[in-house]
């Protein structure tokens, strides 16, 4: 008994749709944890990258270069298999969250740095001129502007994280990609199952982009950025 859509047999999907519920949950979970971890670390590293002190800036630069210079899949294997070799045994799901999270943190660090450095020097000068310390000028003047400025590239990075979570299939995390993979192994219909997987990811990324756009509108400072 097969179900058809546009002439395509979609019964592998319809008969196993329940498998996708927990799969979608796992994809969302990995992505959320990775985004939050990436942002927390990314802020720290991004600020370090913008520091005037070379002692702070250089290690941060190395961190960003190494993580951005190696493939996420390889990093995933290092977290999962590599750590075991030195005695640290980690489960697939945490390994996936850490790998995707740390990977994203390097990109978010660069986004944060870009945001901070694009605020005109005049803002810092004015803040210092009214007596604020460096920390106060960051907290009350620079960061509020920078964080709003980086919402678009950050939104892009969040979409990338959702797609990156698909690599967790390689270490046997039962998220969307692995479930589709397994259905292909049972029904031998790669086009149908992977097309459905793509559709699920599209929905997730579209919802994320829309939410971010709403956030951008809500935190927008009226009149900010308009030419005098």
């Amino acid at each position: 008994m097969a179900d058809y859509l546009f002439g395509m047999d979609i019964s592998p999907i319809t008969q196993n749709i329940h498998l996708f519920y927990s799969a979608i949950l796992l994809t969302v979970l990995i992505s959320l944890v990775a985004i939050v971890l990436g942002f927390a670390l990314g802020m720290l590293v991004g600020l370090a990258r913008s520091s005037r002190s070379r002692l702070i800036r250089y290690p941060a630069t190395a961190y960003v270069d190494v993580i951005r210079g190696t493939p996420l899949l390889v990093q995933l294997f290092l977290w999962y298999f590599g750590l075991s070799v030195i005695g640290i045994n980690i489960d697939p799901l945490p390994a996936a969250m850490l790998a995707v999270g740390f990977h994203s943190s390097a990109y978010q660090a660069e986004i944060v740095r870009g945001g901070i450095q694009s605020i005109p020097k005049g803002q810092t000068e004015a803040a210092r001129a009214v007596g604020m310390t460096h920390l106060q000028s960051m907290r009350f003047v620079i960061l509020p502007q920078a964080l709003r400025l980086i919402l678009p590239p950050l939104s892009n990075e969040f979409v990338i994280v959702i797609k990156d979570s698909s690599l967790a299939y390689a270490i046997s995390v039962a998220e969307i990609t692995l479930v589709s993979y397994q259905l292909n192994a049972r029904y031998y219909e790669p086009f149908t199952v992977f097309l459905f997987a793509a559709l699920l990811y599209l929905i997730l990324t579209y919802v994320t982009s829309t939410l971010m756009r709403t956030l951008e509108r809500r935190v927008r400072i009226p009149g900010y950025g308009e030419q005098e």
Binding site: N89, P92, Q182, N184, A185, R186
Partner: protein
């Protein structure tokens, strides 16, 4: 440009030329070429396999080429056809899909003949018999399938070992679904065991034996799950000529004693 009498002549001219050219292609609309014809045209037999499955298919450490029992069988078919052999190393679960689409001529990968798979591909006559086995690390207390309750197991995704674990351990509630780690290549499943991510690996017995022998004493086969499986070579259902041909080659190998020589080579 295309107006008036001159235009009409031009259009007629183009139509005529297109029609003439099209008719020359009619010959190509004839019967689909047979599988063997395509292989002969290509002068190459393309097989798919999934490495890390000793002694059937594994990558030779020194030459970096694929070798093994299955490769020798495939080579015999290629030699018989008088063509070269190209081996593609794929994720096991992609093999049947690749055969169906025609990306590879046949899948030779210690693949068990099952009625489910026969819905998608045609198999040659059986060329090997096997059971499943449980591998554990030395020092493990696991001895029988019942001991696997509550444990973590690694399998090769899409294989009969995977199916056995799912039907007999997960569906019965003995093992949690999340505790079964599935990988596209058998070698990853073995790695799961040696990195202590799982307590056992369930895989074909001949492969289990070969792996344990090569693993330097860290693992052992503790139980044979009798499944009486037969390996077959998977081919497209429409490639009826190739299936018959392969069966003839397999029979020749057995009759000439060449089959026994290959068995001796890989199972000394």
């Amino acid at each position: 440009m295309l107006t008036g009498k001159a235009g009409a002549v031009k259009i007629l001219g183009v139509v005529l030329v297109v029609a003439l050219i099209s008719t020359s292609f009619i010959g190509c609309l004839g019967a689909e070429k047979s599988a063997i014809d395509k292989i002969n045209d290509r002068k190459k037999l393309i097989i798919g396999t999934s490495s890390g499955f000793p002694p059937f298919e594994m990558i030779n450490g020194t030459t970096n080429n694929m070798e093994g029992f299955d490769i020798d069988i495939a080579q015999a078919v290629a030699d018989s056809l008088g063509v070269s052999l190209e081996v593609r190393d794929l994720d096991f679960s992609f093999l049947i899909g690749s055969v169906k689409i025609g990306l590879i001529d046949m899948a030779v990968a210690g693949m068990t003949i099952t009625s489910d798979r026969e819905k998608s591909v045609s198999f040659s006559n059986p060329y090997f018999k096997a059971d499943q086995a449980i591998i554990v690390l030395n020092g493990s207390t696991i001895q029988t399938p019942a001991d696997l309750q509550g444990k973590k197991i690694a399998v090769n995704l899409g294989t009969t070992g995977d199916i056995w674990v799912t039907s007999n351990l997960v569906d019965t509630g003995l093992v949690a679904a999340a505790d079964v780690h599935r990988f596209g290549f058998a070698s990853a499943a073995f790695l799961e065991l040696t990195t202590h991510h799982v307590d056992a690996v369930v895989i074909d017995k001949p492969v289990a034996d070969a792996y344990v022998a090569s693993a330097g004493g860290v693992a052992k086969v503790v139980y044979t799950i009798v499944t009486n499986e037969y390996y077959g070579i998977a081919m497209r259902q429409s490639a009826t000529d190739l299936v018959s041909y392969v069966n003839v080659v397999l029979q020749d190998l057995k009759d000439s004693g060449q089959y026994d020589i290959i068995v001796q080579k890989w199972f000394p």
